[in-house]
């Protein structure tokens, strides 16, 4: 066992973690621990853009961005935090540009912006160009740029270290325990502040856009230390995943004029969202797709639809919609422009579907995409651990793992990247500030005890269960019963199956007894995280007897603001019992009203 000491420890090296590290390391001795080499992080897969009301292409205001995000959240987002984010987003995007991020450009040489779902001009209700983009690899460029800046500023990195446990002393964070993947040696990172930026858990579901490594580690670790999780019942299904594979096709495709079509060739979103159509918010579109498929209008009767971005189709519907260029001329695209603006999408479609999107429509289906809930924080990234928002000293969370709550019941496209840079920055600042004012706590006598117990359980498991069987059964049942459309009965049966799987999980034998890159052991540990999270997601979803944003129930089809305009909190007790609590939503300017797109 090795012991390290840093004032600030950041766990996770995606956008939020790197931004936090950049800011914390200005004044505090900081290290980043990541289970992957940093540039492998999931931020890199974000495609379409980062939202900020720069107004480079047309009139826009951060207040409009705020209202759109509140509405997008189905009024479950905390409005003070959303205001803060949308205001800060503008400066944060300029800051990325100053770090060298190669944004695409307008004719005037400014940062280019495109349309994205739910982002509107609040006066006309029409879509506004707010998503700042670097072709269709915006996340890749954010991740590369922030990592490069960390290298430039000599931030300390521990790459390919898997954090297993959070150390808590006297109710405050005191560090983390990690296993070095290359040697299986345990490392204790003694710290004054710990920032979790570990991402989400889309691997709970069978069709997902998420990486293999998106296994909810930070959430599972924190739950095991008695920290509640907020709003875990809300998980976003992105409308356009590649059929059967789930790989993401950016909303930017529809931003550039692409449309969704059913088996009859109908642009069905006209029925469900008459004003913004194919750029309604994601929950609305995914649900519409589900209904079309259920009504037998999937392509060839199967469970997928077409996303069509062929220039002829785009131009036909742009004309019908009266869509104009910023200069007032009619909106017309060519194959070359599609290729230039969406090169990676064209590549994905060719590689994985054998389809050239310039010539053929792409088969798509909704795909598990984004964790709206997570570790509860305030707008400074400080973790808050009860109904009264009591701050847990020294513990911070930012990015997808955190629930500020910015995204409420449904995240708007581009706001994940905004979240990373704004709250990554502020959690880093706050963590360093806190570290300046306190001494290191005394470590527990045996800091690796809980980590060792978890690893021993995996090492000593006996039985014939297979990791892939258990993981596939969890994913299938969650996709079938705890995904886009839910019923109390269906979820109850899913819960029973997940609990059976948790029992069977204890009987997966470990074949790899080596110390060097024992990926089998780590994969089993990760599956344990997913199972724990699947259970809490299902329990919180059963309890919420309404439909709101991404949480849509056949048995409770309406939003219920009288009883459910509140955040859920779920604690997992040491005996495994899940206890629920609730806290109010912060409302400043915008009273809840019906959501129409």
């Amino acid at each position: 066992m090795k012991i390290h000491q840093f004032e600030v420890i950041v766990v996770g090296a995606g956008g939020a973690g790197l931004m936090a590290a950049l800011y914390a390391s200005r004044t505090a001795n900081t290290a980043v621990i990541s289970k992957l080499y940093p540039t492998r992080s999931h931020t890199g897969t974000a495609q379409g853009g980062v939202g900020a009301a720069l107004g480079n292409e047309e009139e826009d205001h951060w207040e409009w961005h705020t209202y759109d995000s509140v509405k997008g959240s189905d009024y479950l987002g905390d409005q003070d935090a959303i205001e803060f984010m949308c205001y800060e987003a503008v400066q944060a995007v300029y800051e990325l540009e100053h770090y060298g991020l190669p944004f695409s450009r307008t004719a005037e040489g400014k940062i280019a912006q495109r349309r994205f779902g739910g982002h509107t001009n609040n006066v006309t209700g029409k879509l506004v160009r707010r998503a700042c983009y670097a072709a269709d690899r915006t996340g890749h460029m954010i991740l590369q740029t922030l990592y490069q800046q960390c290298l430039k500023n000599n931030v300390n990195f521990f790459d390919e270290y898997q954090v297993i446990d959070l150390l808590v002393v006297n109710g405050a964070a005191a560090g983390v325990v990690a296993i070095e993947l290359g040697t299986s040696e345990l490392h204790v990172f003694h710290a004054k502040s710990v920032i979790f930026a570990t991402g989400g858990h889309g691997r709970v579901w069978s069709i997902t856009s998420n990486a293999y490594s998106y296994t909810g580690d930070g959430i599972a670790i924190a739950m095991r230390r008695g920290i509640p999780m907020e709003d875990l019942e809300f998980f976003q299904f992105h409308p356009t995943g590649i059929y059967r594979m789930g790989i993401l096709i950016t909303e930017g495709v529809r931003g550039e004029g692409g449309v969704l079509l059913n088996d009859k060739g109908e642009r069905f979103m006209e029925k469900y969202a008459p004003t913004v159509k194919d750029l309604a918010s994601r929950d609305v579109i995914s649900r519409a797709m589900y209904l079309e498929i259920k009504a037998g209008r999937g392509i060839n009767g199967k469970n997928y639809l077409y996303l069509d971005v062929r220039p002829d189709t785009v131009n036909k519907y742009a004309l019908a919609d009266g869509r104009k260029q910023p200069d007032g001329s009619p909106y017309i695209v060519t194959s070359e422009e599609i290729l230039a603006k969406l090169p990676d999408i064209v590549d994905f479609a060719r590689t994985y579907l054998g389809v050239d999107p310039i010539a053929e429509p792409m088969p798509v289906q909704p795909t598990a995409h984004y964790t709206m809930g997570g570790i509860p924080t305030n707008k400074y990234g400080e973790v808050v651990i009860d109904e009264n928002n009591t701050v847990m000293p020294g513990f911070y969370a930012a990015g997808e793992v955190a629930c500020v709550s910015i995204h409420g019941a449904n995240r708007l496209g581009t706001n994940s990247l905004v979240d990373l840079i704004v709250f990554g920055k502020h959690s880093g600042l706050k963590a360093a500030e806190y570290a300046r004012g306190v001494d290191f706590q005394t470590l527990p006598e045996n800091p690796t005890e809980f980590t060792q117990a978890q690893l021993d359980a995996i090492n000593n498991a006996k039985g014939n269960e297979k990791i892939l069987d258990i993981s596939n059964e969890m994913k299938e049942i969650m996709m079938d019963r705890v995904a886009m459309f839910r019923t109390g009965e269906g979820m109850q049966s899913a819960l029973e199956i997940v609990r059976e799987l948790k029992e069977r999980f204890k009987h997966i034998p470990l074949h790899d007894r080596g110390k060097i890159f024992n990926t089998e052991m780590i994969n089993i540990w990760e599956l344990g995280n997913l199972l724990d999270i699947a259970e809490v997601v299902t329990v919180t979803a059963i309890a919420r007897t309404e439909s709101r944003g991404a949480h849509a129930r056949d048995d409770y089809p309406k939003r219920d603001d009288v009883n459910w305009l509140k955040h859920s909190l779920a604690w997992v007790k040491p005996n495994g019992e899940i206890v629920l609590g609730y806290k109010p939503v912060v409302i400043t300017k915008y009273q809840p009203k019906e959501r129409v797109y």
């Binding site: 540039t39 492998r40 944004f103 890749h140 293999y212 490594s213 994985y352």
Partner: protein, 234 residues
């Protein structure tokens, strides 16, 4: 279809040298090579070790040598190989740690050596620095790099000696040298004007052929060489 997958195996805790194991896998032509590896690990041998994350060609974790050429395992489909026999080996030129996992440190060291970060010491404007569409287009291709190492580990010059900085580090420098906002082109060119750097490229084109991001690597290296000869960055 039934596929015979032959995999390079090496466990440093047990083996003196590597060997190959062959697994029979039932797969669809549209399955990724990565899917087959996951299947083998899940059902045949849990000790098989390899890196992977995003599984769709963006994170750059799973560069491997498949039927004699570098690919990302998640971006190569069985049907691409026109055969039911697949051989998977670690990428060449780096020390094998275990099975398909190699020690990437030398590769990253070369990357870091070209100062792969934006340098402009003037105070930034209140808003963005302006850049024309053409100026932005000038270095677009090399911004696509995901650091997977397919290029560098396909290069015979690198196989012969890992002191060669390799194609990846050169294109990492290219991305900044040709960025109109960056001010350190001269410094980067000085670093590349070294016997272990750009002049060891013999335009073999292996790198360009296997780049999963389809970056015109050899061309970018040529542009760096030209900038060195002419002293001009255009």
């Amino acid at each position: 279809m039934k596929v015979s997958v032959k995999v390079y195996r090496f466990n440093p805790e047990k083996d003196k040298k590597h060997h190959f194991e062959t697994y029979e896998v039932e797969a669809e032509p549209t399955d990724r090579v990565l899917d087959m590896l996951e299947y083998i690990k899940g059902y045949y041998d849990g000790t098989l070790s390899f890196r992977r994350s995003c599984a769709h060609g963006i994170c750059g974790s799973d560069a491997m040598r498949i039927n004699g050429r570098n690919y990302l395992a998640c971006k190569s489909l069985l049907k691409d190989f026109n055969t039911d026999k697949i051989t998977i080996e670690p990428i060449l030129g780096l020390r094998v740690i275990k099975d398909l996992i190699v020690d990437m440190e030398i590769f990253f060291e070369h990357y870091r050596s070209v100062k792969p970060w934006f340098i402009n010491d003037e105070p930034p404007p209140e808003k963005e620095r302006l850049q024309s569409i053409e100026e932005r287009e000038r270095f677009d291709d090399t911004t696509k790099c995901i650091l997977c190492a397919c290029c560098t580990t396909s290069c015979p010059i690198f196989w012969a000696s890992d002191t060669y900085i390799g194609p990846q580090a050169i294109i990492a420098a290219h991305r900044f040298i040709f960025d109109s906002r960056d001010q350190a082109a001269a410094e980067r060119l000085r670093i590349l004007n070294d016997q272990f750097a750009v002049y060891r490229c013999h335009t073999i084109f292996n790198c360009t052929e296997c780049c999963p991001r389809e970056i015109e690597i050899t061309q970018a290296i040529g542009e760096v060489k030209e900038a060195l000869w002419t002293g001009k960055v255009k």
